[in-house]
Each structure stands twice: as C-alpha cells, then as structure tokens.
C-alpha cells in the first residue's frame, strides 16, 4: 500500500515535468514585447542645447541627392545627403555657440539637476566610455581617478585606479578630493553623496547607438570643450548616416549570430542588436531578451550566414555546426578588439570592422 502511494508520488512528479513543458510551449508564442521607450530624462540634457541647423555636414552634396535620390548609381557611391528623421541635427555648432556659459545644468538618470558653476578640474570617471570620450575631446587631464579595466587611451594607464568596475574603493575616492564623480550604475551614489561629493549618474551603456553622440556633447558642456565634443559627436553621427545611406539599397542583409562566449548572445533590444539593425543584419537571436544563452539546436535550424565569435573560433571544428552556412563558407568573424563593448568614440571602429567584413568593398 505504502509503495503504491510512493509510486503515485513519483508519477505526479514526472508528470509535472511534462505539464510544465506543455505550458512552456504556449508561452513561447507570446508576442515580442515592445522595445522599452527611451526614458525622457536620459536625453534631457540635449534639449537644452542651442539649436543651429545651419551647420554643414561633412561631404554631403545636396544636389546629387535631389537629382538622383532614386538612381541606382548614387546608391553605390555610398554618399547620400544625411536627411533622416532618425538623427535630426539636434545640436550644431557655429562659432557663436562654441562657448558654453556656466553654470551648466545636466539632468541625471534620477531627474536631478546637477549644476556646474565651472568646469570640474578633478574628475573621477568610473567608466571606460567616459574616459575615452574625455581624452577624445582633449580634456583627459581633468581625470584623476578611474577603475581597473580602463585601458584606453594609453595615457589612462597612469591615472590612479580606485577599484574595479564593480567595487569602488569609496575611501580612496573621497581621499582624492574630486569635484565630480561620474558613475554609470547607481551602487555607490548615495555613499558618495553622503560624503559630500558631486555625483553624476548617467548610464552610458544604453541600447541606443545615437545616445552615444549625446554623451559626447554632454561632456563638452561639462568641461567647456564644446567645439571638440560637437565635432566628435557630429563625426560620429555622420558616420552612422553614411553607413545607413550606403546600406539603403539593401532591403535585407545576411543572417548573423554572435557568440560572446558559451553561446551567450545578444538579442534585439541590446546595443549590439541595434548595430545589427544598423547594418541590416538579421539577428537569428531576435526573440531573445537582453543577453541569454541560446540553444545550439536553434543555431542549426536558423542557419546563420555569418557567425561573430568573440573569443576565438569554437564553431569550425564542432560537428554540430558542420552544416551551418557560416561554417561551410568560413564566414566566421573574430573581432580584432572588443570595441563594441565600450560605448565610447571607438565604438564605430567595431561597427566599421564588422561592416567591412560582411559587405567587403562597399564602404569607403
């Protein structure tokens, strides 16, 4: 009698597996969630910029565009006038607007206004992208502290390190007596503010590529190097526009799968997912949220034409993937450096490298 009860218990247990599986089948068919709307406060500081739409864009012959916007040949030249709704010229610099008038007000992620009466001289930039940006606009000398993983530009190696990316040495930060601490995640904000420091918290690693240019401009306003920052941002935006217009004739690019290690892969709502969209690549992991491990079965079934393997080629010798088009064609791309993980000025180098691998000879 006892053992029969136990048998029933075991049966119920295994049956629950099957039923749970059945549930999962249903949940698979749920519609893709809409991409999260950009929080207004993130881009708030840009709206304060003076708008000057007359700024000439780099190498954009307007006549060509008007005459032959539908002509095939103009598409191949790869130069199209950058008139796109997506990247309006929010900010442009004529000589007039190159000087910023302090105090400057920057809105952080919590909708707090951070007021700068003068450019900060002792910045602790706890973020690779911010350090790269500051050096790119010639204001790197203001940085007195950063974290262990910041390794670019070479000058950054001599900056004092105050913790690794996820563990800030708050005592060391306070001891350096900074007049601005820049953070991209909130863990240490309260502690630092309680110590009487000025903290600016803005996440740089959003999933929107165009936000990066806004960050460059923000640093320009904070440090007073508005012209350099605007040049950097405008160059960044025009390069994106160049990519967009070059790829305009292509309705659908090849399918792609990126392995960032252990079959972890970015979905569509990530920064890399947006790079794929920019390059018109069909991400085979389009139905994955954020970063997730993907099932090898799905890779075989969706059969990507290109594989981006961040940490060396683990696909070519694997019998599982011998039938995948990317492996058959040898279309496995191993990035030369991890540009796409830092949303700084070098980000587009990663995009360009990828674009040139997939569309050889198209980009100038």
């Amino acid at each position: 009698m006892k053992s029969s009860k136990n048998c029933i218990a075991v049966f119920i247990f295994f049956a629950s597996f099957v039923s749970l599986f059945a549930c999962s089948e249903v949940s698979q068919q749920k519609p893709d969630p809409a991409p999260p709307a950009l929080p207004a406060n993130v881009v708030d500081y840009i709206k304060k910029k003076p708008l000057k739409p007359e700024y000439p864009r780099a190498a954009a012959p307007a006549e060509v565009k008007v005459d032959s916007s539908k002509d095939e040949t103009s598409k191949i030249t790869g130069i199209k006038t950058p008139i796109e709704k997506k990247y309006p010229k929010k900010t442009s610099s004529s000589n007039e607007s190159l000087k910023v008038t302090f105090p400057v007000s920057i809105t952080d992620i919590d909708n707090q206004k951070i007021i700068f009466d003068s450019p900060p001289e002792r910045i602790i930039a706890f973020d690779s992208a911010a350090v790269e940006t500051l050096f790119a606009i010639g204001e790197g000398h203001r940085i007195i502290g950063t974290h262990d993983y910041v390794s670019y530009p070479p000058e950054a190696n001599s900056i004092e390190k105050v913790g690794d990316a996820f563990n800030m040495d708050v005592e060391a930060v306070v001891g350096l007596n900074p007049d601005l601490v820049y953070l991209f995640y909130p863990s240490f904000k309260e502690q630092l503010e309680n110590a009487g420091l000025k903290v600016l918290l803005i996440p740089t690693m959003g999933d929107d590529i165009s936000e990066m240019a806004d960050h460059f401009r923000m640093w320009g306003r904070i440090t007073g190097a508005v012209m350099e920052a605007n040049n950097l941002a405008d160059d960044f935006e025009s390069r994106i526009l160049n990519i967009e217009s070059t790829l305009a004739p292509y309705t659908e690019g090849p399918s792609v799968f990126q392995d960032v290690g252990g079959l972890w892969t970015p979905g569509n709502d990530t920064l890399v997912g947006n790079v794929f969209k920019l390059l018109k690549l069909q991400n085979i992991a389009h139905d994955i949220d954020g970063y997730q491990q993907i099932s090898p079965e799905v890779i075989v079934e969706r059969n990507p034409q290109y594989i981006i393997s961040s940490y060396g080629d683990t696909f070519s010798d694997d019998p599982k993937y011998s039938g995948v088009v990317a492996v058959k064609n040898g279309s496995i791309y191993i990035p030369s450096a991890d540009y796409l993980s830092i949303s700084g000025p070098r980000f587009l180098m990663g995009v360009d490298e990828l674009a040139n691998f997939i569309y050889p000879g198209i980009f100038k």
């Binding site: 218990a9 295994f14 749970l20 599986f21 690794d164 491990q293 079965e297 075989v300 060396g312």
Partner: protein, 370 residues
C-alpha cells in the same frame, strides 16, 4: 560474509545509525531487487525518448523515429529527412541526453558513496572540495588567455578534472597518517581547501575582465556544449567506477554501523575508504569537468531512493544511478525548452523542481526516516 547481513538488523536497533534501515527478510531472499532496477531502466529509457522528441526546434516524431532507426545496424531506412533535423537530433540532442544521463548517474553514485562513507546525510559529491577545485581549474582556463580549444583538444575539462581531483588529493594527504585516515579530519580539510580555492576563484573573477557570463554559466552547470566525444570520454571513467562502488556496497552496509565493528568483521576499512574516496572523486570530477557544477542531484537522488525503498546500499547504488540519471535528463529537457530559444543553466532547474519534491517526501515520511 553471510554473517554481516544477519548482524545488521540486530545492531541497528541498538545503535543510532544514520541512513540504515533494517534489512528486511525480503531483501535477504533476493540479493538485488531486480524487478525495481529493471523498471527503472525502462523509466530512464522513457525519459530519454521523451527528451529526444522535444526540443526548442520541433522535429516531426516520424522524422525522429526514422533518423533513430537509421542508426541501428541491419535496418535500411530511406533518407527522407532534412539535414538540419538530422544534425539537431544526432549531433545535439542525443549527446546531450547521454551526457545528462551519465552525469546524473555518476553524481548520484558519488553522493550515495560519500553519504555512506562519512555516515553523514549532508554529504554530496562536492563534500570534500571537488567542486571548488574544479571551479578554480575552469576559472584559470576562462580568465587567462589559454584558448579553450587547442586543435581538437578541449583544455577546459582537463583543467577542471585536475583542479577537482587535486583539491581532494590535498585534503586526503592532510587527513591520513601512515596507518589510517580520519574521516572527520578529511571532511574538515576538504571544507578548508574548498573555501580557500573558492576565495582564489573569486579573487580571479573580480580582478580580471568583467565579462564573466561564460564562466558563470559553467559554474551553474549545463549540457549546452555536449558532444559525442564528451560522453565517450566519460564512459571509461563512469562505468568501471559505478561497478566498483556496486561491488563495495556490501562493505558500505557494514561501515554504517561502526568502523571498528566493520573491522572486527574482517573488513579492511582503510582500503575501503581509500578506494571509495578515489572512485567517487574521479566520478565527480569527470562529471563536473564536462557539465559544470550541477547541484542537488548528487545530494538528493540517494536520499529519495533511501526514503522510498530503504537504505541497503546493494540496491541503493544502482537505483540511485538510474533515478539521478533520469532526473537530470528531464531537468535538461526543461532547461532547454522553458525559455526557448534561450537556455537556462540546468543547476537552476534541478534545485527549483527537485527541492519541492524532496520536501514533499520528507514531510510525507517524517515519522519513519532516520
């Protein structure tokens, strides 16, 4: 040797003994409950068939059957299936299922052996430092610039295996004198070495590049990398080790009473300890090196068998192997289908669904265990 079995019931009532239920006359009649083992072999097969027919990519059952049949000798099947279905089934699902079965079986056997040897219900395969040693080995491979695959040679499992067996070897060396090994010292030494290697692993993790996802998913365990060669590599470790533990299961029964008592019955306890520790460590380290740290199976599968069918190690070892194997096959099925097309680490599934079931068994049987 016949004396042993008759002594156990007599003494188990007098001494408080963990995990020994009296050997009933029924057990004495037939040495092994063959019927239960045969039933569980079929249950395991059924789990494998279920796992083969479901996946994140749906393959028609007919295709599945045809592809499987085509692999049997002397059966000619016309090729009517897609190449991708064949690859998914033969190169991805089957190796995964086999690996999950083998790993589940070996972790359960190792767990049961440690529980018996240390007479401690908390013992699991990772009890004396295998897990943390293996993690250290794997972490060193992930975080240094050693390529994970050199040619056809996969470095990761080798490093994990060396780390796991190395940690236990050190603990064993610490606890053994020339004449004997103190099990209590072995446990403490194992825990100390485990804590130390875990600390080293953590330092390495926070002091190096921040992309820890591949490493963390290895630590949480899974079969996403499974290939045929993994399983074939494991088989020569697992099958002899499990058979060896089965041979020693009689002696494990005697050790449940007392070491000195077992010695008085003519058991060479020192040799037994040595053999069982080496065998279980090899079982665990081999399993861990290919699948990462899958928790809970090795702790709970032996207990489930013990609660349901009694603590005689002669039947407990083979039954626990089959139960643990089937449980892990089903857990892996869940891991790869619940968030399809994504995957979850299988260690999450084993605890998430195994723990409530185990608690249910504990409540149901709380009056008559231990």
């Amino acid at each position: 040797m016949n004396l042993q079995t008759s002594f156990i019931p007599a003494y188990s009532n007098e001494i408080t003994i963990l995990m020994t239920t009296p050997v009933t006359p029924k057990n004495q009649k037939s040495l092994l409950p063959w019927r239960r083992i045969v039933v569980w072999i079929f249950v395991s097969l059924a789990c494998c068939v279920l796992a083969a027919s479901i996946g994140s990519v749906s393959i028609h059952p007919m295709e599945t059957i045809m592809i499987t049949l085509s692999k049997f000798p002397f059966i000619n099947v016309d090729k009517t299936w897609e190449d991708s279905s064949y690859t998914i089934l033969w190169e991805i699902r089957f190796p995964r299922i086999l690996l999950a079965l083998l790993v589940g079986a070996s972790l359960s056997v190792a767990g049961a052996t440690y529980q018996g040897l240390f007479r401690n219900p908390l013992a699991d395969p990772y009890f004396i430092g295998v897990a943390s040693g293996a993690s250290l080995g794997a972490t060193l491979v992930f975080l240094t610039n050693v390529p994970i695959v050199i040619g056809n040679f996969n470095v990761l499992p080798i490093a994990a295996f060396i780390g796991g067996t190395g940690a236990v070897a050190i603990a064993y060396k610490i606890s053994s004198t020339s004449s004997n090994t103190k099990l209590a010292t072995l446990i403490l030494a194992g825990i100390a070495i485990g804590s130390f290697t875990t600390a080293v692993t953590s330092i390495l993790m926070i002091r190096t590049e921040p992309d820890l996802r591949p490493l963390l998913s290895w630590i949480m365990g899974g079969f996403i990398r499974a290939t045929w060669s993994d399983s074939l590599f494991l088989l020569p470790y697992l099958i002899p080790s499990i058979l060896l533990v089965c041979i020693y299961s009689r002696i494990l029964n005697t050790i449940q009473l007392d070491e000195e008592y077992a010695e008085s019955l003519g058991v060479n306890t020192e040799r037994t300890k040595k053999v069982l520790i080496i065998v279980s460590t090899i079982l665990t380290a081999a399993a861990v090196s290919f699948s990462g740290l899958i928790g809970f199976v090795g702790l709970v599968a032996p207990h489930v068998v013990r609660i349901l069918w009694g603590g005689d190690y002669r039947s407990l070892i083979p039954t626990a192997a089959l139960v643990g194997g089937s449980f892990l096959v089903l857990s892996d099925l869940m891991a790869r289908t619940v968030v399809s097309p994504g995957e979850l680490p299988v260690g999450i599934i084993t605890a998430l669904f195994g723990a409530p079931f185990f608690i249910f068994l504990l409540i149901k049987n709380r009056s008559n265990i231990y």
